[in-house]
């Protein structure tokens, strides 16, 4: 949310006075339903009118061995009464469902922060699995935090007793109990959750709905009537003031799906989506399957290669072909992308980046596929690359990708990442009528008089016509072998290959004329330091620059959406700054692109831990650069 920018700081620990923003982290076993708890808490937070940002952090294993350190799943939410652009640095409140969750998450908790612990899980065996030598509840290792430890397991079992569930099923309601307590702490309404539980279980198992609701109510009541006054107290966070209008929460994966549907509608085309299951990109396929009334065809292919090839086939036949994957799958699609470049067919390729190389970190975030996106194909195979900076921004970027692909007859890559894909934020629901349509026109008449149609006859922008098979009199052949000027017939003579390579490059370079000029999103348009980001680092960079500026430092934030080709004014803009800092979650890829394109002394700030930057990390780098 970038509209309202009331300043806030969260340095103070949990306090009785209403704080402006609070960071809460739920952590438990991957089977404890932490992502669900976090997701529902997010929804209730949004419904309470708070601005928020979330960060789900879960292991790659679906059900990692119970109680182990690597099986810990966490969900962090930063919500408050002023603009939130990051999931927060250190949590104010940690809910730890077992010893492993405590061990892996408590170091991040702010000094003086509150940790809520389920003692029911602190058995000798679980402590051993978490590699605790002594019980942290009994030694003083948690001394710098407020600890609230009680037997959530037992309290949950008691609350759901009337429903006659088995022990295992009953314990599954623990997450709802905890959620109930959290809702009480932050003064949230339970009704939307009760409605959701009823809807979720109504048909399959109404008893489970009742049990979960009972657990939720019991957790809430526990907060209400807690005998221990101790550290447990109710926090009220005032609603954020935002632009008037209708709001909902949205994840990046939802935003991409909706943006693609909107983009295809604006192009006046049916959309064909070819996908193959891969974390964290599968969510887009799941979403689009449910949107077929918008002329969407989905195809779950036999592999990543078939997914993109089918999408290109659909584009050839006159639909908007789209494919989506994550790094390893994008690697497999490389050759087919080259064919789309060569045959000059529109295509949108979504890459939800994850940590690499190889299988890497399937569920963790990284921005390390920038080289792959910009350079990663054989031959001179340039294509436009767009990077979304937040879940809501992914909607706009998906539309932009559809526009460029269809207007320039080119594959376009849209970069998001695991963080954007899974995280959610409030989104002001846009009016579809506020977007300018870009309807596609197919060639219907021979563009060569009495002669053979010229499928590669370029217009003034270097763009060829799009001809659908089925069109009378325009039969022609296309393919991956170099082709003659205008005709598309096989021709790889020296002059022709030179001319076609130049033409393909000029066409993609020319996209720069059809995109907005680069703006400065915070600070002056020249000065001592520009912090240049792209993609999901937007939040921490923005907050860090804001904080540094509050301290009087001369620093600006530039965030690049059009990663390739770059906006025409970017070079001049960067030259107006003494120094350039490029924070990114890789080893410095965009930094290299900027150096190459503009010969600027861009300095890297890199992080590849699978976790997003904290505000503090970027703030420290800004201070270093200006020291």
């Amino acid at each position: 949310m970038a509209t309202i920018t009331a300043e806030h700081e969260t340095e103070a620990s949990v306090q009785d006075t209403a704080p402006e923003a609070v960071v809460v982290r739920f952590a438990g076993d991957s089977g404890d339903g932490m992502q669900l708890t976090g997701g529902q808490f997010t929804l209730s937070t949004a419904l309470a009118g708070n601005d928020l940002a979330t960060f789900p952090d879960f292991p790659a294993e679906i059900r990692a061995p119970q109680g182990t350190l690597f099986g810990v799943s966490a969900f962090q939410i930063n919500f408050g009464s002023s603009e939130i652009t990051t999931a927060g640095d250190a949590p104010d409140v940690l809910v730890a469902m077992n010893p492993a969750a405590l061990k892996t998450n408590v170091p991040a908790l702010k000094p003086g922060g509150l940790v809520i612990i389920d003692t029911g899980e602190f058995s000798k065996r679980n402590l051993e699995k978490a590699k605790y030598e002594s019980n942290p509840l009994e030694d003083d290792s948690l001394a710098k935090w407020d600890v609230l430890a009680f037997d959530i397991s037992a309290l949950t079992l008691e609350a759901v007793k009337p429903f006659g569930l088995g022990n295992k099923e009953a314990l599954r309601c623990k997450n709802m109990w905890t959620l109930g307590l959290a809702l009480w702490m932050f003064d949230r309404d339970r009704q939307p959750l009760i409605d959701w539980l009823n809807a979720k279980f109504a048909k399959k198992n109404p008893v489970l709905a009742e049990a979960n609701i009972a657990a939720l109510n019991a957790g809430h009541a526990y907060g209400e009537t807690a005998e221990i006054a101790g550290p447990l107290r109710k926090l009220h966070v005032d609603p954020v003031a935002s632009e008037a209008g209708l709001y909902r929460t949205i994840t990046g994966a939802e935003a991409v799906s909706l943006g693609l549907v909107a983009g295809a509608q604006l192009a006046n085309l049916p959309m064909f989506f070819g996908g193959y299951p891969i974390t964290p990109a599968s969510a887009i396929l799941h979403n689009l399957v449910k949107m077929k009334e918008f002329g969407v065809t989905t195809f779950q292919a036999e592999d990543e290669i078939a997914a993109i090839c089918a999408a290109i086939g659909a584009s050839y036949a006159g639909q908007l072909g789209v494919t989506s994957s994550s790094g390893p799958g994008i690697a497999l699609k490389g050759e087919a992308m080259g064919l789309a470049v060569m045959t000059e067919l529109p295509l949108v390729i979504v890459n939800s980046q994850r940590g690499g190389p190889s299988t890497g970190l399937p569920t963790k975030t990284e921005q390390s596929d920038l080289y792959q996106a910009v350079y990663g194909r054989n031959g001179d195979a340039s294509l436009p690359v767009i990077a979304a900076c937040s879940p809501a921004d992914a909607f706009e970027c998906a539309i932009e990708a559809c526009r460029i692909a269809t207007q320039f007859m080119t594959p376009v890559m849209l970069l998001t990442d695991g963080y954007i894909g899974n995280a959610s934020e409030p989104w002001k629901v846009p009016d579809p009528a506020s977007y300018t349509p870009f309807p596609v026109s197919f060639l219907e008449e021979n563009n060569n008089g009495e002669g053979h149609v010229l499928p590669f006859k370029r217009d003034e922008r270097g763009v060829r016509p799009w001809i659908k098979p089925g069109t009378e009199g325009l039969m022609h052949r296309i393919g991956g072998i170099e082709k003659g000027i205008d005709t598309g017939n096989i021709d790889y003579s020296p002059a022709v290959h030179q001319a076609q390579t130049d033409a393909r490059k000029a066409k993609v370079d020319g996209v720069a004329k059809a995109i907005p000029a680069q703006d400065v999103c915070l600070g002056e348009t020249s000065g001592k330091l520009a912090v240049v980001g792209w993609g999901s680092t937007y939040g921490p960079i923005h907050q860090a620059v804001r904080r540094a500026r509050k301290k009087g430092l001369d620093v600006s934030h530039i965030h690049v959406r059009h990663v390739w080709p770059l906006p025409e004014n970017l070079g001049d803009l960067l030259k107006g700054f003494d120094k350039v800092l490029v924070p990114e979650m890789n080893t410095g890829q965009f930094k290299t692109v900027l150096r190459d394109q503009y010969l600027v002394d861009a300095r890297p700030l890199t992080k590849t831990s699978g976790q997003p930057f904290t505000i503090a990390e970027i703030e420290a780098a800004i201070e270093d650069m200006l020291a």
């Binding site: 300043e7 009118g49 008037a244 064909f272 290109i312 050839y316 039969m475 052949r477 393919g479």
Partner: protein, 347 residues
């Protein structure tokens, strides 16, 4: 497919203006002519016809047919065809592939296009060699094939394309060869089959695997070495003096002598294109001891992939309207009123 007035074309109408660039004497020329003969026979419409190919000698095919054509990447033609057909089920899609393209690098896609039963014709030109890359042994090369990468003879065992197709769930499997006068009939049957129609076409690579199929394609041996499978007719060869019968002890086929044309007395089996078990036995007969089974070996249609996708989609969207505004505002929403909204707080 077009159900309107039959389109009248001639062989000439299907010739593109492109110079054919296969080696002189290549079997591909004969196959190209057979296809250009077939298309008028089935009243195909050039504007609704798309030839899709992968990479290899055979895959240059689309450039030579005056229709729409897409020369794609190695092994992936079935995936492109799937996208084309799902985007526009009215198009007639022909796939052109080879033993390297379709059985090696693209084996996966061949399997899945057959399993899904996309309505298209798949012509696999089998020359048992990699031609375009200068003669390496291929997945269908016989063990012991000498080639640049197997100087003392290949050790790999060959794959049987038709057996692979049946194993992948193909509902139509046929065989022919480049210079066969009956090839257009086989291709016509493939065209008329609704669903994925797999046709293995033995093709002579004049340069790297010359005359590999002479032992059954040459006129003087053809009668004795070819058994043509025709639905409802006995499986006879050698001018009716021999036939294929079921050996009930071993549950396999055997060659029997037919005396005075009395094939019934000899127990010769009658071909049934819907008999999947028989199809398996016919495509796996070891050549030499048995003749080469040619013609339509199996033809038992099932609903096509694209028709199922269309039906599924109709079911999914029943009662839904495409209202983008509504879609965007789906789920739990809240409204910020004008009076609550903050203004002018930008820094």
């Amino acid at each position: 497919m077009n159900d309107m007035t039959p389109i009248q074309t001639t062989l000439k109408d299907w010739e593109s203006d492109q110079e054919v660039r296969w080696c002189p004497g290549c079997g591909d020329y004969a196959i190209l002519k057979a296809v250009q003969r077939t298309l008028p026979m089935v009243n195909a419409d050039p504007k609704n016809t798309v030839f899709v190919s992968g990479i290899g000698c055979s895959s240059r095919f689309p450039y030579y047919v005056e229709s729409y054509g897409f020369h794609t990447i190695h092994g992936r033609a079935p995936a492109f065809a799937t996208g084309i057909k799902l985007a526009n089920p009215d198009l007639d899609v022909w796939l052109v592939t080879g033993d390297g393209d379709g059985m090696s690098i693209g084996g996966n896609h061949t399997m899945h296009v057959l399993r899904r039963n996309l309505n298209c014709q798949i012509m696999l030109f089998n020359n048992e060699i990699y031609g375009l890359t200068k003669g390496q042994y291929s997945p269908t090369s016989r063990t012991g094939t000498n080639s640049p990468t197997s100087p003392i003879g290949s050790v790999d065992r060959p794959a049987l394309p038709c057996a692979f197709a049946l194993g992948s769930g193909a509902r139509f499997v046929a065989r022919g060869y480049d210079i066969s006068k009956d090839l257009p009939e086989v291709l016509k049957a493939a065209y008329e089959h609704k669903g994925a129609a797999f046709v293995e076409i033995f093709q002579n690579c004049i340069v790297y695997n010359k005359d590999r199929f002479d032992d059954f394609t040459q006129k003087k041996v053809a009668d004795d070495t070819q058994v043509w499978c025709r639905d409802g007719e006995p499986l006879l060869f050698a001018k009716g003096t021999k036939g294929l019968a079921l050996d009930c002890d071993t549950l396999s086929l055997k060659v029997v002598d037919v005396v005075d044309g009395d094939w019934e007395a000899a127990g010769v089996a009658v071909h049934n294109v819907k008999n999947r078990g028989l199809a398996h036995m016919l495509v796996e007969m070891p050549f030499g001891a048995f003749p080469m089974a040619l013609g339509v070996i199996y033809d038992d249609p099932r609903p096509t992939f694209e028709s199922e996708v269309v039906a599924e989609r109709a079911k999914l969207i029943e009662g839904k309207t495409a209202d983008l505004g509504k879609l965007l505002a789906k789920g739990q929403t809240w409204t910020v009123e004008e009076k609550d909204a903050a203004h002018g707080l930008m820094d």
